[in-house]
Amino acid sequence: MEVLERYEPLVDDFESFRAACERPLPSVVRVNTIKTTVERAKQALAEEGVAVESTWHDELLALPESQPGTNWPYVHGWLHGQEEVSAVPVEVLDPAPGERVWDACAAPGSKTTQLAASMDDSGTLVATDSNLGRISALRSNAERLGVTNVAITNEDARNHSLKPFDGREYDRALVDVPCSCEGTIRKNPDTLEEWTLSHVEGIAGVQKGILRRAVQVTRPGGTVVYSTCTFAPEENEAVLDHALETEPCELVAFDLPLDSAPGVTQWGEESFDPEVAKAKRIYPHHNDTGGFFCAKLAVTES
């Protein structure tokens, strides 16, 4: 937990923040609207005596006393276990049916399948991951949920190729990058044991490369959402600052029905483009969720 001390200058109520980080999170499922409706999923859970609590998002149901995978609606592909706050970036990206969308770091597929549902399982959703083992989990999740609009590629997202698809650009891209995962501490209390500053700095280089590639393959006027589950400004605002400097894009303000803090413009000796304040930092004590960071970018003419 000492790692978290470095964020004391950033967090409004640090004691509440620390206390929230030590509480476990309840199970949450997302209703798969490709196969059913929220009403029918609730009815099916009620038939089995599974207690359900509502959340900030209609399609997300908290199961305070139950595990997601042990009931009939799950085996029909109606439900998918997904942490509450991890539904944020797809909500912000808001893809429409028929669009072309890229999910740059897709496995194991909670957000990929949420994107597919948001697109009514139409259009084309290209889902990329660099790890074949994780792709097998992604495939299994996508198939279980009946997703048919996803095309999966195995490559380093920094070098994502449009060649297989005749060079067509995307309308939207989700860049939910691998990160130091500090924000998942409530689910994985061991997350911070392996934490090192050099890992944070190393992975920030990868994150910058992936975000730049996403801007390059998205059409002018298109939208890119960048998200992480870490509090580290090196992996958040610094990555945005780099993209603003090197690629034709700008940050866009957005609304979210969750409490959050603005992106930080100062971290130690570093200062960032003031526009990064349009990003949102979601701390665990804000809404009793995991921690998260999310930014929305518009691609401009180069």
Binding site: A44, E47, S122, T124, R139, G146, I152, P164, F165
Partner: protein, 183 residues
């Protein structure tokens, strides 16, 4: 030598199925270039004849083969051939005498089926989902059936069963099995 021509292209060489890439199914026999590859028309006819699912249900989907007789359904269009990891969902296996839909295809499209659909009680559905075979009366055809379960007040497709000799043989793949039996 295998041809790089797509099924829809003008190639006349006898091509073989190439297991590492996706090739779009030819629309009809006339466009077929790879021997043994089913056509889109055959796939649509099969769903209509076997399960009564009308072809209109698939009008937004393209069909592809990767791996011998492994047919994938994709909700859109893409250039053919395509060398990627996965395209839509695996939906039908066609290289054996009897074609077999996947559990995922049946859950996704089987709600429109009107025949060769076997409705199970909750208890029988639990046995099926656990991967166990069971003796059952069934007046219809032998072969692959769509098995349904009642949930939230309606019948919903759960998976594929093979009915032979008075027995329903569960075809639920190991990774999808769950044991919800109450004993």
């Amino acid at each position: 030598m295998t041809s790089d021509d797509s099924e829809a292209g003008s190639g006349t060489t006898d091509a073989e199925n190439q297991s590492h890439r996706f090739d779009r199914l030819p629309a009809t026999d006339e466009e077929r270039r790879v021997e043994g590859r089913p056509t889109r028309a055959e796939v649509l006819d099969w769903w209509a004849e076997r399960f009564g699912v009308p072809p209109e249900r698939f009008e937004d989907h393209t069909f592809w083969e990767r791996g011998s007789g492994k047919i994938w359904a994709f909700a859109g269009d893409a250039p053919t051939p395509l060398e990627i990891e996965s395209l839509g969902l695996v939906f039908l296996r066609t290289r054996r005498e009897h074609w077999k839909p996947t559990l995922e295809a049946v859950q996704r499209f089987g709600g429109h089926a009107t025949r060769n659909v076997l409705d199970l009680s909750r208890q029988a559905a639990a046995t099926f989902l656990a991967g166990d075979d069971q003796e059952l009366d069934w007046d219809g055809d032998w072969g692959y059936l769509i098995v349904t379960n009642e949930i939230a007040g309606e019948r919903e497709p759960l998976g594929v069963g093979l009915y032979v000799h008075g027995e329903l043989r569960s075809q639920v793949p190991k990774g999808r099995r769950r044991d919800f039996r109450e004993d």
